[in-house]
């Protein structure tokens, strides 16, 4: 009866870690290397990357669609990440309060490299940089679709389902 002790503690610890991972919102700060890493990830799950900013009216309008749709998919199959393009000078006074006020639970990556021309083509060569825009990506199954402009709830589901 002595042996299981440490295992149970380990199991408990592991489950605790995974719970925080599932429920806790991650806010990361990206530069080009982090963005590149995200875009080149080899996780076998669909990545839905929404490019937005609090100053972008149509982005704010479509944001609840992502929150809502994310709830109806298995997080082990679809990962949502909101890449904020808020100005670095407005992250603390505008972006973070916005996330809190609007109860945004999805992971956020703040792209702090404002030399846009150095990384826009990494996302999609056709993209001129207008937001909102959303990338649907699974590198393992070689699926990639870049949607420029707003996407509504049925549209979002349609693109996700097509890639699952």
């Amino acid at each position: 009866m002595r042996a299981p002790g440490p295992y149970i503690i380990m199991l408990l610890l592991i489950s605790l870690v995974s719970i925080t991972k599932v429920t806790g919102q991650k806010i990361e700060y990206f530069k080009v290397p982090e963005l590149t890493k995200l875009l080149n990830n080899k996780d076998n799950k669909l990545l839905v990357v929404n490019f937005w900013a609090t100053w972008c009216q149509p982005c704010i309008v479509e944001l609840p669609n992502f929150e809502k749709v994310a709830k109806s998919y298995d997080a082990s199959k679809v990962r949502f990440i909101l890449v904020s393009l808020d100005f670095p000078s407005e992250i603390n006074k505008r972006l973070l309060p916005f996330l809190k006020k609007n109860k945004i639970t999805l992971d956020v990556a703040v792209m702090t490299d404002v030399d846009y021309n150095s990384w826009i083509d990494l996302v999609d060569p056709r993209w001129q940089g207008e937001i909102p825009a959303t990338l649907f990506l699974n590198n393992v199954s070689n699926k990639r679709y870049f949607h420029m402009g707003k996407v509504d709830e049925p549209g979002l589901k349609k693109y996700i389902n097509a890639f699952l």
């Binding site: 490019f51 900013a53 100053w55 972008c56 009216q57 149509p58 393009l85 100005f87 670095p88 000078s89 404002v114 030399d115 846009y116 021309n117 150095s118 826009i120 083509d121 993209w127 001129q128 940089g129 207008e130 937001i131 909102p132 420029m148 402009g149």
Partner: protein, 202 residues
């Protein structure tokens, strides 16, 4: 015969669509336009006899990125209009989709900010479509070559929307300086995060 006409119409329509969809890039000829300025007058590029070219900026009243760049647009005109490259700003946003971008709103913005350059209303959005403009702000630097208007540069004003003082690549200013020295423009295309042009709902 009817079938042939139908097929031909289809082909022409398709050709028209593809041409409209091909955005201007450096080296392309520009077709002139005629748009209403905030003072009520119609403006065409051909009216500027003394100009060596133009800094055409697709802008608007509402986009926060345009607001970030507004002073820099005013300054570009201040620096380069006397040297032959005036700013010509165009608002192509649909006022139904973007209510702050109506003609009267443009008049207010131009007046309150003291625009010393034309601020034109592209109500039909034809000019934005012909240029292939997608964002605001979106710059097309144009020069006159043997009477023909030619695109020299397409893209951003510089590489730091947030902070003008931190911009260390001044794309438009560098390109105009090169043209003034009869040099080739080194960087002819850049991209930048911006607001999408608010297209009419079809």
């Amino acid at each position: 015969m009817k079938k042939l006409i139908l097929v031909l119409t289809g082909v022409f329509m398709f050709a028209g669509i593809t041409r409209a969809a091909a955005p201007y890039k450096a080296g392309d000829d520009v077709s002139d336009f005629s748009l209403k300025n905030v003072n009520g007058e119609m403006v065409s590029l051909s009216q500027f006899n003394d100009a060596k070219g133009f800094i055409v900026v697709f802008a608007c009243n509402t986009c926060p990125v345009v607001k970030k760049y507004e002073q820099r647009i005013i300054d570009l005109n201040k620096e380069f209009s006397s040297k032959g490259y005036p700013v010509v700003a165009i608002n192509s946003n649909d006022q139904t989709v973007s209510p702050g971008d109506s003609y009267s709103d443009m008049q207010k913005t131009a007046k309150s900010k003291g625009y010393a350059f034309p601020y034109l209303y592209d109500e039909s959005q034809e000019v934005a479509k012909r240029f292939g403009a997608t964002n605001t702000p979106h710059v097309y630097l144009i020069s006159k070559k043997e009477g023909q208007l030619v695109v020299e540069y397409v893209g951003a004003i510089d590489n730091n929307a947030d902070d003008a003082a931190k911009a260390d690549k001044k794309y438009v200013a560098d390109a105009v300086h090169a043209l003034l020295k009869n040099d080739q423009v080194a960087v002819t295309n850049t991209k930048a995060i911006g607001c999408g042009i608010k297209w009419k709902k079809s």
